[in-house]
Subunit: 418 residues, 2 copies
């Protein structure tokens, strides 16, 4: 049976334009991977009568109604009351959930913070399936009513998306009689239009499995999705498609299913018992932040330097002052010296040095915004590259880190580094 | 007259979760500044019958209907046809608009690209106001029908938002007679429910200006909004409300309108010509990343260390090995030694040291996940605090950085630090 879903975002902040509805995007993406059609998104404010009207409309046009937001402890929060009412359910007190909320407060926040409002979060529709919130206080839940599936999730994106992936996806999988399996092929270093050009004919031709491109921050993801009666069968169907993509895009594919460049690099370093250290200038700690986002980073990453000023480069990395004076802090030789110095000082197997101009102003020597030099000091010498990464500060920093990680990824997998 | 608007986003890519609906956010923000209430957002795919149903619903609940998307040259694009039909209008060929489209192609693209589909973009509802598209090919337009204002805009955010600001805002200003102005009061260190408890009576009482809380990542934002016949009058009306909030929440308010803790701290440091350096363990560069997110950070931030391993703490910060052995790397004394060492080594006015357990596993000495020690080395000595920040790695790191920045913010503004 083909199921359809509607996502109702609840929150006046969305209607005032202070927040963008990323929850709807992320849930839609997840639903499409489950083979559930989304025909409408709706957003309403913190207003019971308008929410009620939106729910009545959704009941007429969807099998699954998913709400996001309006479950928090403030007086604006009304999603549960309205949804329970629309489906003729009572809200009942869940002692176990109350326990969880109490213990969340005791564990993690200001203990004195707990109020009666927080306890109202333990009021949930009778007979519902509770989704525990490991990422905040408001639990989510699902219930059946009037032949529909109703799912309520908290609004903050981190809570909403975590709960969707961890609780709602398994819940919805039970409703479907076929298995839908996906793999994400991650591509770095080719633009979306190039990827599409190379794969267009195949993408149009494929019906099951399907192949669809998604532009991500600075990279492209290709999703292969197959629908079959078993997971094994679906996997079998996807193999030739993945092989075809591999053949077409080659070394630009950095992973299948792994999350991002940093997780791939850290996994390989860890498998090979190798270590990495980094010296950052224009990226100001972003590379190290992304490395240490990954649990277990300490095994391969002893630490590094953020040498933002020239003086820090001289004092802590021992970059010769005349090199900076002659070549400029934003130069290929300085990037190389940074990579080599940090490798040596941290006794690491690899050193990465990044120096550039993230803007908004060009550097004193006139290097234009977006110019970034990245060096990788490795066993057999130092590799370095010059990049021009546009004009947006945040994008320059993100792309510089992506390129630095990709250079090391290429070195580790035996691809061409520069 | 109070006008209400509904925004209908048209595009299957939105329902597949490939794109996030930033158009709705940006248009909503613009409408709220015009004093126009937005009660609903709707998103539908490239499907005429579902779009027709969405428009029929919108006609019953809004005075102004704004569509985004579905005006491009591909065969999926159907917004104009459906909207014209819903309001009983004919589409007519606009020779002048056809001219513009031809010249756009001659100016900027491959001349051979122009197709009959492109010329269909010159078909517009009879009697409409045309919004020329300086940023792409599809023109937007507005017309009146069945007592409603109907506005159609292209989907690509750059085209949509530019056209909204340059064409639609002046068009709508003619319809409205009031100004809406907002201020955002940012609060750190109190939970949303505590803030709500302390301000509930006032919030319920206030009608214009209004006061509403928003939970942000680890903090609370309170938005004050006033509607008046002039900006000046609106500001005058908000003053006593902002004063009341200041009196109620005191030192927990870290900014009005400024974006985040790091921008406040950097502004004050910069004004006072002071510098900061940091040594991070469990936050792995996140603090330095957030500091250097702010343009101009180089004025106050020379650099810092990510000393993830014990060895790095010993080698680069000179933390005595026996201190780490006796007290553990995750300890108040080590945090203090890190802060003091980095302050001295970087010749900075302030040093921040952060050491803790971000998880997922406890450290070897059994410190539980979420335990973080933060120290601030300042002019008159070193301040330090122990935190317990829950169990989620990413939240622990974010909150540790927030607390570190807040300790410095408090020091700089003369508030109690620990």
């Amino acid at each position: 049976m083909e199921l359809t879903a509607e996502i109702i975002g609840v929150g006046t902040e969305l209607l005032l334009g202070k927040t963008v509805n990323t929850d709807a995007r992320d849930i839609s993406e997840g639903l499409s991977m489950l083979g559930i059609n989304v025909y409408y998104h709706t957003v309403v404010g913190d207003n019971p009568s308008r929410l009620r009207l939106a729910v009545e409309i959704a009941k007429r046009r969807a099998d699954i109604i998913i709400t996001t937001g309006g479950l928090g402890p403030t007086c604006d929060d009304l999603t549960k009351q309205v949804l329970a009412e629309c489906f003729g359910k009572k809200l009942v007190f869940h002692e176990k959930e109350a326990e969880r909320i109490r213990s969340y407060f005791e564990r993690s926040l200001h203990k004195t913070d707990i109020t009666e409002n927080n306890m109202s979060q333990a009021m949930l529709p009778e007979g519902c399936t509770i989704f525990h919130n490991e990422w905040g206080t408001a639990p989510g839940c699902a219930f059946r009513g009037d032949g529909k599936h109703v799912i309520m999730l908290p609004g903050p994106p981190r809570e909403c998306v975590s709960m969707f992936n961890n609780c709602v996806v398994p819940y919805l999988k039970e409703l479907s009689d076929s298995e839908i399996v996906s793999h994400n092929i991650r591509v770095f270093g080719l633009g979306e239009s190039v990827v599409e050009d190379r794969l267009r004919d195949k993408m149009l031709e494929l019906k099951n499995p399907t192949l669809a491109p998604y532009a991500k921050e600075g990279e492209v993801m290709l999703r292969v999705t197959a629908k079959a009666s078993s997971v094994e069968e679906a996997e079998e169907m996807m193999k030739p498609v993945i092989d075809m993509v591999r053949e077409t895009l080659g070394e630009f594919i950095y992973a299948v299913d792994e999350e991002n460049l940093e997780s791939v690099v850290l996994r390989i370093l860890s498998e090979k018992n190798l270590t990495l250290s980094t010296a950052e200038s224009c990226t100001g700690g972003l590379l190290q932040k992304r490395i240490t986002d990954i649990p277990g980073a300490s095994k391969v990453f002893p630490g590094g330097f953020v040498t933002y000023s020239d003086k820090a480069k001289i004092d802590f990395l021992g970059i010769p002052e005349e090199l900076i004076n002659n070549e400029g802090a934003v130069s290929q030789v300085v990037a190389r010296a940074m990579a080599e110095a940090v490798k040596e000082k941290m006794s690491a197997d690899f050193g990465i040095g990044i120096t550039g101009v993230a803007g908004p102003d060009p550097d004193e020597r006139g290097s234009e915004v977006g110019t970034v030099f990245i060096a990788l000091a490795a066993f057999d010498g130092t590799y370095s590259r010059e990049f021009h990464l546009g004009a947006d500060r945040s994008r320059i920093r993100t792309m510089a880190v992506n390129h630095a990680l990709d250079m090391l990824r290429r070195y580790l997998t035996g691809e061409k580094v520069v």
